[in-house]
Symmetry: D3
Subunit: 136 residues, 6 copies
Amino acid sequence: MSTVGRTDNPEDHPRVKAVFDDIRRTRGSDFINNLWHYLAFDPGLLEQTWAEVKAVMGAPSALDPLTKELIYIAVSITNSCTYCVHSHTAAARAKGMTPEQHADLLRVVMLAAKTNQLANALQLPVDPEFNADHGR
Amino acid sequence: MSTVGRTDNPEDHPRVKAVFDDIRRTRGSDFINNLWHYLAFDPGLLEQTWAEVKAVMGAPSALDPLTKELIYIAVSITNSCTYCVHSHTAAARAKGMTPEQHADLLRVVMLAAKTNQLANALQLPVDPEFNADHGR
Amino acid sequence: MSTVGRTDNPEDHPRVKAVFDDIRRTRGSDFINNLWHYLAFDPGLLEQTWAEVKAVMGAPSALDPLTKELIYIAVSITNSCTYCVHSHTAAARAKGMTPEQHADLLRVVMLAAKTNQLANALQLPVDPEFNADHGR
Amino acid sequence: MSTVGRTDNPEDHPRVKAVFDDIRRTRGSDFINNLWHYLAFDPGLLEQTWAEVKAVMGAPSALDPLTKELIYIAVSITNSCTYCVHSHTAAARAKGMTPEQHADLLRVVMLAAKTNQLANALQLPVDPEFNADHGR
Amino acid sequence: MSTVGRTDNPEDHPRVKAVFDDIRRTRGSDFINNLWHYLAFDPGLLEQTWAEVKAVMGAPSALDPLTKELIYIAVSITNSCTYCVHSHTAAARAKGMTPEQHADLLRVVMLAAKTNQLANALQLPVDPEFNADHGR
Amino acid sequence: MSTVGRTDNPEDHPRVKAVFDDIRRTRGSDFINNLWHYLAFDPGLLEQTWAEVKAVMGAPSALDPLTKELIYIAVSITNSCTYCVHSHTAAARAKGMTPEQHADLLRVVMLAAKTNQLANALQLPVDPEFNADHGR
């Protein structure tokens, strides 16, 4: 059950096929998960979303691939996104996340949410020592 | 302006003093940030909160200290916690976060929120391939 | 599965029947969706909720009906409300939302969430030019 | 006070200057709001963010410019993003939002949040009539 | 700084004056807090909002007044609403909340957020024993 | 379907068995709900989580047990946590929550979310009268 229909034979559409081919090539796998199948209802949106996912998560950058997945999961948990928690926990595991690292991620995510509530409840002033905006 | 008063002379209270001493010792710094000053209104809550922060963020674990700070920031941004975003960005920088890593963190946090919205909007079914609960 | 039971024969209760009759009359349809069936456990809550939905979404106002549905969906996505995303996407479609408008809604909702994360991460000061509170 | 420093003389950097020039040209105004000044710490992030804002909010699309601003505000309110609520309320007003439309936006945003809470509290099943995924 | 201007001489408008008079009478105090002053820009919205606050928070109901304030604060913390956290913490204190009860509220709010993250992270199935919807 | 596997024969592990025994003893029931079964993948996380739930929700404190459950539900609804809304609504009912109290809880939770949106939309200044931080 979803708010748009899953596209039948999506690869009959050349722009969709080009994205699907790039997903397979980039990931080295034939598996195309549901997000891309359902996004096929709008090829422009599909292209833009995949381009950004590939650029941010797939290209070498200042943070290593597993760290990026852990950050992704942390946001997805906090936003209560069922699909994203599932897909990115699977991705993190595929990139080597151990059960101990998973438990550690949960501990940090839980502690952060807990102290977020505390600080939002106290509405305490930010220490000037934390200001990165020197001279202002 | 806050919802509880900042405690005057908090270290006159022995339980508060013990926590403050442990914060200074653990961090190797004389700086006690506002969270602990304002929490001093309830020594039990102060002790429990510090004990958990110290255990999760301070003790060696499966994830390295900087990765844990990045996850902490990601949750705090998503929960819109002004105080926590400030304090943990400062902490991450103190643990070596470079401007390039900071920008990369922002990119992942933004992408995750973006696809969280997309998946929540489409309400698409989770692929069975993501299930970690074998046989159920 | 739900946290309250669906009421059996809800229209045996005159206050529930009056609300259901008004829903059918207002919408010109015999379909009563689950929200109202489950709310029937408390007729007062049912009456108040329907009265507000009817007044805000059903009566002519400064914004047209489809725009109001798009705004409703945007909030529901952000709050991760499965039921509301489903029911209001269906409502928007019934009021004429095209697939192109749906994709455009998704683009704006995703961009907004993305820049919300960015601004919350940077904690940047609000430009005085945005202040609508003249002279204060 | 912010988590990154506002860049001094940002237009000394050619990539930053190119973005700032494009913002001025696109908007027909000399005013560059703080978001872009603070983002200048990472030219790549600045370029990507502006490119997406320009494409989604600035280019003609299936939804009119004011409707897109109202949706943007709705998400920003729900995510509690102070900066974005301010900047996009100002933008909506610049695009013609009347006080009556503003009040109507608030009414819809409030009602949506209210029924989101209700549906999340009841955890009621989604009516099969809302399913857009025919045959699945 | 706000997104609408504070109304000058709001009580020159008879509908605004009627609401302000009722607020003073209901609360037995001359103090009208900012929410109502800023809402005066739209008398209809002012009337509806006050009517609901008065009915839900002011009238005797199944929960006592302090319990209702504690629930209100819990939601406001979780939504990161600065104004509401301040105004309802003050209201709870005016209705007798002790520092010990405040600390206890914080403990529950923090624990709930923590386990919310855990359950959202694990995506575990709901036990059938929790279903209130008998026979379905 | 979940992101970690449900542990088979969890009580073969002595640390898991000790927690499960304490849950049964504390609650006076043989029923162990899914949260604890799935947490068994990491005995340390299981022990810490149960210890905190037991201390905060199970021990006598400044707020009575039912009030604490209502606060817990309010946070869980706002965070859109399906599992927690189910488990704590069941817990509140077991502690005596009546249908009238449930409806009243919903009314307060809905009103709070509604005015949170309003205050976040208006970005109105906090009245100095609400400041608890005397002299600062």
